[in-house]
């Protein structure tokens, strides 16, 4: 399997007046064709910024985003091809669709814009096909609807259909089901999984919901971020049952479960501090050291840990664990 998209020591800083926020710090990750990778972490960890850099919406301030080995920001005219190959689905189904366009227009616009259809007839046929792929059948029921006439789940499906108009090879789904009713989320995720199986689309699924990450990326990998850095990457079943990094352990143990017996008897990892550091004032050395139960003075607060290959596809950035 070749690497479809590669993050090579990618960083992104933002300026707030005189202050510098390092939203993403030296992240390297290879995503292979046909794979599902979940990027998980809490708010402020840099996962959305990373997703946007992969989608070409933000330019890294350090490092390179590679598509089939090529730096996307050095592609020149081919960048347009890249933007078609990589699509993004946003979190808010109420904000990502133009409220004054009907579904037929929302979906046919990219078809015409990119010269993917020759005439209206071909466009209409393709629209029906797309709506079928996202399980919005019969298509006639939806073509002339406005976004406000659709439910949250239906709007997300239209967003996915829109992303599919340009035959993408890679889809970044940024919290794509978070604002959708719980009872509908699974069918959306199953639909996305079918896109992978039937159309060969590669996915980066960004979420703070570990249970969803486990479900969606069960055959794939999970990458955990904390305050801008990648701290663990592993095959999903492994990460969920045997996390290595103290932060991953804390996260997994902290998640409340929809099962009273399990959740009330679960062992929780105790952290040294409840305070989350601000991105404007990051701790020295390992970002997690002020809260980490394995903290070793003189080491963890001095040196930034690198991602180390632990074998069996597991990578972890922790001095103490990798000793």
């Amino acid at each position: 399997m070749s690497s479809l998209i590669s993050l090579d020591h990618v960083s992104r800083t933002f300026r707030q007046g005189n202050r510098i926020v390092k939203a993403v710090d030296n992240v390297s990750l290879d995503i292979n064709e046909g794979e599902i990778v979940c990027l998980v972490g809490e708010s402020g960890c840099g996962k959305t910024t990373t997703g946007k850099m992969i989608a070409g919406l933000l330019r890294p301030t350090g490092g390179e985003v590679l598509f089939e080995g090529q730096d996307i920001w050095a592609m020149g005219r081919d960048f347009k091809r890249y933007r078609q190959a990589v699509q993004i689905i946003h979190q808010d189904p109420y904000a990502s669709l133009n409220p004054v366009h009907q579904v037929s227009r929302i979906l046919s616009a990219p078809l015409f814009r990119h010269g993917l259809v020759a005439n209206q007839e071909a466009a209409q046929a393709r629209l029906r096909e797309l709506l079928g792929i996202v399980d919005m059948t019969p298509p006639e029921d939806f073509l002339d609807k406005y976004p406000h006439q659709l439910s949250g789940g239906q709007r997300q499906r239209v967003s996915v259909a829109r992303a599919l108009t340009v035959h993408p090879r890679f889809i970044v789904a940024d919290e794509a089901v978070s604002m959708v009713d719980v009872s509908i989320r699974v069918s959306l995720l199953n639909m996305l999984t079918r896109l992978k199986d039937e159309l060969g689309v590669t996915f980066l699924f960004i979420t703070h919901d570990l249970a969803l990450a486990k479900y969606f990326a069960w055959q794939g990998r999970i990458a955990v971020m904390y305050l801008g850095r990648l701290i663990e990457v592993s095959l999903t079943p492994r990460l969920v049952t045997d996390p290595l990094h103290p932060y991953s352990k804390a996260l997994l143990s902290a998640v409340p479960e929809a099962d009273p017996q399990i959740t009330r008897t679960k062992q929780r990892v105790q952290l040294r501090s409840l305070d989350v550091p601000s991105l404007l004032n990051l701790p020295s050395g390992c970002n997690f050291h002020p809260r980490c139960p394995l903290f070793e003075e003189g080491l963890c607060d001095k040196v930034v840990p690198e991602l180390v290959d632990m074998g069996a596809g597991r990578y972890v950035a922790c001095h103490v664990i990798t000793k």
């Binding site: 998640v255 929809a258 099962d259």
Partner: protein
């Protein structure tokens, strides 16, 4: 068929006799008894039936979780309990919200403005979901505590300050630092904790939380859940929390009530509801939520979408999405009946559906 519907609409009261609605707690130990509460909104398209004939009890020191998704009516119900509904809302005749404390009891809906003021915050505090916006941005936290205390008749600043320090410590915040801060200087999780602390200021007997941990990170959420548990143990208030999050209910609730299309469709003890659900909607919800612990499960969504509250379908409101629906379901709306001691469900076929339910664990 329309005759059946017309008839049942005309005799609505007699279709839902109070005898059917008797959850576990006995009257003397009950803090709150809600009876036949119905709330409509006057919308542009017509009457939105947000809450339909809801009845339940909340015992002293008990935690009841109201679970529902968008359009279930849970937030409207919460707002009705402390009468904070918008002007377009109408509470129907015949509904009662009985509040009991130390042998005294009264109907919250019958309170006069001054009495209502006393009730709010002193007897019953409510923390909303956009808690992040509930704090006054131009006042320091210390002033907000004073403001709240003064608004409810207490003007002893020193005493308020001491109590505020104590409460902030209880929610694991650095009390001096937080009291000095403005809301924008605190993170979302910290603001939520400040609001919990403030809700306890006047020692209420009943606390209502609406989506208490939505938009909070996993670790912050964990801290809040543990704090709630501890506070409840120490201060023994009754807690009603409203959420779409089943895992919260699994963590904290003594009893769980699921709401659909404005009505309670199931209510029972938390273990019973999760392991032996009796209503297809509850079953659908449980089967739709993955757990991190344990093996990979087979999950399933509930097909279809929530109903249009202006044009509710006849019969059982869940029937268009229910795999067990029959003609009877399409014509007659089921009432909440006891399926086991302390466990009620509104379904004609709960015996059939519950016997096929399997918990993937």
């Amino acid at each position: 068929m329309s005759d059946v519907i017309a008839r049942s609409a005309a005799t609505k009261q007699s279709l839902f006799p109070p005898e059917n609605l008797k959850p576990a707690p006995k009257a003397a130990d009950t803090t709150l008894t809600v009876q036949n509460l119905s709330v409509d909104y006057l919308g542009r398209r017509g009457l939105v039936r947000a809450v339909r004939d809801v009845s339940f009890d909340l015992a002293h020191g008990e935690t009841l979780s109201l679970i529902g998704e968008s359009g279930s009516g849970k937030t409207t119900l919460g707002l009705t309990l402390i009468r904070l509904l918008p002007r377009a809302a109408r509470i129907r005749e015949g509904g009662r919200i009985i509040y009991r404390r130390d042998g005294d009891e009264f109907d919250v809906l019958a309170l006069k403005p001054e009495e209502l003021r006393h009730f709010r915050w002193k007897e019953c505090a409510m923390v909303f979901q956009s808690a992040l916006n509930a704090l006054n941005p131009v006042l320091r936290i210390a002033e907000q505590f004073e403001d709240t205390a003064r608004a409810h008749g207490t003007s002893r600043t020193q005493e308020t300050r001491q109590r505020a320090l104590e409460l902030l410590r209880l929610v694991k915040l650095d009390p001096e630092r937080v009291l000095r801060s403005y809301p924008h200087e605190l993170s979302g999780g910290m603001r939520q904790r400040v609001l919990f602390a403030m809700s306890l200021l006047l020692d209420p007997q009943l606390i209502i939380l609406d989506e208490p941990t939505t938009a909070l990170d996993i670790l912050t959420q964990r801290a809040i859940i543990d704090i709630l548990r501890q506070l409840r143990q120490e201060m023994k208030f009754s807690l009603l929390f409203i959420s779409h999050d089943l895992s919260l209910a699994a963590e904290l609730a003594d009893r769980v009530a699921t709401m659909y299309a404005g009505a309670i469709v199931e209510i029972g003890n938390v273990y019973e509801t999760f392991y032996h659900p009796q209503h297809p909607y509850t079953m659908g919800l449980i089967k739709a939520v993955p757990t991190v612990t344990g093996d990979m499960q087979a999950l399933a969504s509930i097909s279809g979408s929530p109903p249009d509250l202006v044009n509710l379908p006849p019969g059982c409101k869940f029937h268009p999405r229910c795999p067990y629906a029959t003609d009877r379901c399409r014509e007659e709306e089921p009432t909440l009946v006891a399926v086991a001691p302390g466990h009620l469900a509104a379904c004609w076929y709960s015996e059939v559906s519950s016997s096929t339910f399997q918990v993937a664990s």
